[in-house]
């Protein structure tokens, strides 16, 4: 079904809340392709539907209508269990805040998706990711003992360690100072350029978007502009 090269694809994807006069169209028949190996930024003001688009395409929420694929799997046709297993195997996440489980140390947080999937971690890859993110001496720390930037880097490491088809990043720099933001964005950019990782980043920050290959602008639940640089 999916065209070659599309990591994520949607077809008339729609999400509405409420009904009748109070009906809100958070996402209004959006059809897009996200290409493999590209760094795509989704931008838009509050309420534009950018987070909803991410939640639906990542399988975190159910669409009202329309279809959506990750690779060649139509996720809008999956039940909750299959969807969860798909996320576990093929999707990585970085959220703005509350990325880490407070009861686990950094290493356990990074390895959590693999553990849930009962997959053996690729030790070389794990060491590489940890080294690139500069987390080597922080692995035994709990989230409360890490700075905001360090916490986001642990989240990034977790997203990448399972070598997912696509990483969804929801305002990953939203809670960081400018230096830490720079570091995070540079890392994301490098993982696309050097490793061919596919990343979809939701942001309202133009500077963050400037690291991307492509910028989708949303307004009122529709794609307003699709810029490639």
């Amino acid at each position: 079904m999916s065209r070659p090269g599309a990591a994520v694809r949607t077809e008339a994807l729609t999400k509405t809340y409420g009904s009748g006069e109070t009906l809100v169209r958070a996402l209004d028949a959006v059809s897009v392709d996200i290409h493999r190996g590209e760094f795509t930024a989704v931008m838009g003001p509050s309420g534009s539907g950018k987070s909803t688009l991410m939640h639906l395409t990542a399988g975190l929420d159910a669409a009202t209508s329309g279809r959506s694929w990750i690779g060649d799997v139509e996720i809008t046709a999956l039940d909750d269990k299959a969807l969860t297993l798909l996320r576990r195997e093929r999707v990585g996440f970085i959220f703005q805040a509350f990325n880490l489980l407070p009861t686990m140390d950094a290493q356990a947080n990074i390895l959590l998706p693999l553990k849930l999937a009962r997959r053996r971690p690729d030790t070389d890859w794990f060491d590489h990711v940890v080294a690139v993110l500069g987390l080597g001496d922080r692995l035994t720390h709990r989230p409360s003992e890490l700075s905001g930037g360090q916490q986001q880097r642990v989240a990034a490491a977790r997203a990448l360690v399972s070598k997912p088809d696509v990483v969804f990043a929801d305002e990953p720099t939203g809670a960081l100072d400018s230096a830490a933001s720079e570091q995070m964005l540079t890392f994301l950019r490098a993982s696309v350029t050097d490793l061919g990782q596919t990343i979809v980043m939701v942001t309202h920050d133009a500077n963050a978007a400037s690291y991307a290959d492509r910028v989708l602008r949303l307004a009122d639940g529709r794609v307003d502009a699709d810029e490639r640089r």
């Binding site: 939640h55 990542a58 975190l60 929420d61 159910a62 909750d80 269990k81 969860t84 297993l85 996320r87 576990r88 195997e89 996440f93 959220f95 703005q96 805040a97 509350f98 990325n99 489980l101 407070p102 009861t103 686990m104 959590l112 998706p113 553990k115 849930l116 999937a117 009962r118 977790r158």
Partner: protein, 818 residues
Amino acid sequence: MLTSPRRLLSAALALALGVGFVAAALMLATSLDATLRTAAGGAIRDAKVVLTENGDVPDPLALTDEYVTRLGDVPGVERVRTVVTTQAMSPAGTHLSMFVLQTVPELTERTTLVTGRLPEAPGEVLVNQVAAQMRGWAPGDTVHLEVDDTREFTLVGVVDAGTDTTTNLEAPHVFLQMPDIHELSGRTSYTDLYVHGTGSEQELTDAIRALPETAATHARVLTAAEASDLRITQFTRGSEQLTVLLLSFGAVAVVVAGLVVANTFAILVAQRTRQLALLRTVGATRGQVFRTVLVEAGLLGLASSLVGLALGAGAVAAIAPLSRGSGVLQIEGLAIAPRDVLVPLAVGILLALGAAIVPARQATRIAPLAALRPQAATAVDPRVRQGHPLLAAAITVVGFVLLAVGAVVLPAQGVSPGLSVLVGIAGGLLSVVGVLALGRRLVPAVARLFAPGMGHLGGAPAELAAENAVRNPGRAAATTGALLVGVILVTMMTVGAATGQASIQRELDGQFPMDAQVISSGPITDAQVERARSLPEVAAATVLREGGVETADDERWLHLLGFDGDAAATFRDPDLLVGLADDTLLAGPETELADGSTVTLAGEHEVALRVVVRPGLGRTSGVTASTMLALQPDAPRSLGLRLADDADPVGAVETISAALGGDGPTVQVMSLADQRAQMQEIINTVLLVVLGLLAVAVVIAVVGIGNTLGLSVHERRQESGLLRAMGLTRDQLRASLGWEAVLLAAVAVVLGLVLGAVYGVAGVATLIASDATVVPALPWARLALIAAVALLAGWLASVLPSVRASRVPPAAALALGE
């Protein structure tokens, strides 16, 4: 608070249960007392003086007709009511069973004729309902009674004999007219005399005691009041302690209720943070917020206490008809004293207020600003205050030391059981409080012991659960505490019952050192002895010669058994007969003979014997068969038996009497099997009632776990969302919460089983007489059942919260403060 009915319900239930327990204990005490007073007063009626025969005195000296005539001459005496209570056997087929024989009762409110009429002519008898049911007798039937030889009587009526007629309601009775009883039993004296007359009880009693003939009867002479009190103490020997025990359960139930209520109030306050903050922003003072919470708690306390009172009264009323069959605890109906209402009410309201104080103070600390902040940031930590760990440890240690004093030291000193029970209960309560206060440290520590095994069993969800269960130690402790107390109580009762039973068994084994004894109407034949030996139910058999001999110097009567050389094998304790020789007398402690002394027995010949005291013999004494024959050549032969270990005691008795009844004289197998079975039944009934009540405590505790888990789920919403995003399936999320609840339950089970077993054994040790041995017994199957039920209940508690948690889509759960 009144807007969260579901959570409120659990607090109210917990309170009602605690109050109900206290109310039931108090009402039971009142009802028992009322019952005993009517029972004890019943037989005495309006008599002023009661004389009771001393069974050890030979008949001619006892309460004879002559003496009764002499009594009639005492100034002030108007009437002497004579009663004979004795026993006879009644054959049915090859079996004999024991009946109580008594003089025909006067019909009263409590003793009423069921059918037929009272005996009028000689040879007519009346039976009580127990006997009628046992034998299927109806008026017109023939009743065979046997003392020395068998006589026939005609049944003319069945009577419902109440407490004013007999103190032994469950025994089969046959009532005969006085001449018939005298003729049948061969005795010419009475067992009890009730003296009616003028003047004060004391004057009349003194006058009777002053009679020279009175001393010669050796009878016990008591005023009606003394006799009544004596009977009450005889009856209440067990029941007062039972009330104390129940009250202590009540106290513990109150503690459980307190834990659940405090936890529930804390959760309610936490959930109402915004509402309370809003109150503060519109101008409510801290005091007003504090009072709002307290008033709600007080109202809840009042309402729950009323329900609790009804529960308690209902429980006692329900027990009343069930109690008829038990010897220790018989109540005729519910009786309530004012104290039984006021105390539980006060306890319930104070408990609710006390449990609400900490949450209410937390509520006053909510800043008005909290109304404006997102909810998650201001959740109040709903933990029960734990106090200083060293203090808690000290309380625990002091508690266990007191428990040991009550269970071991005081009984060894021979103080009254009442005191040792009180000390034991104080120690038990203190140690429970101490353990609960240590919970913040103890619960996570024990939980961590289980974590690796659980991770092994349940994979990632279980590992998550192990971490989550103890991340808030205070809450984990409070949640576990309620279930812990429930498990402790149930285990204590179960182990206590088993231990008590085993200990009483040991005591009975001592008093009746053989499993069974076969007595016969004529000399037992050698063929019968051989037949008994050949039965698979019989492990060993020996011929006994049984008799009674007086000491030469002070004419003390001794019950004597003459043992053959093979007798030792028939005893459960084979060492019992070590030291038996032709010149020794093995004496039980109740014979009050001094160890090592020499005693001369006056039988056919005078024989001097060296006394060796054997605690296991009770009131019996033992000599060799040859010594016995020298003392009493015609001593009747009987047969002592040890049953095979795998034989069913009740069935074995049937088999043996059937096998030996066929040839030779009629036999009767006397065995404790029936008594044991009856004791078992009583203990099981009481246990069932108490466990039923306690089961409710466990249910309450489980509701508490559900509440706490619900709050945790609420607080960990985002975390659950994150886990779901990472690939935790719905089933795994549910499983994780299930494991969390099961882990907390497992901690409660492990601590509860250990502590409960200790309390159960210690409780029996405080109750049991000083000279008896406590035999700890652990009923493994029941303990396993307790563990399984508690774990299952813990898991059930997680079902609702986990279903709610897993329904939330990950995207919604992740959304911050929206």
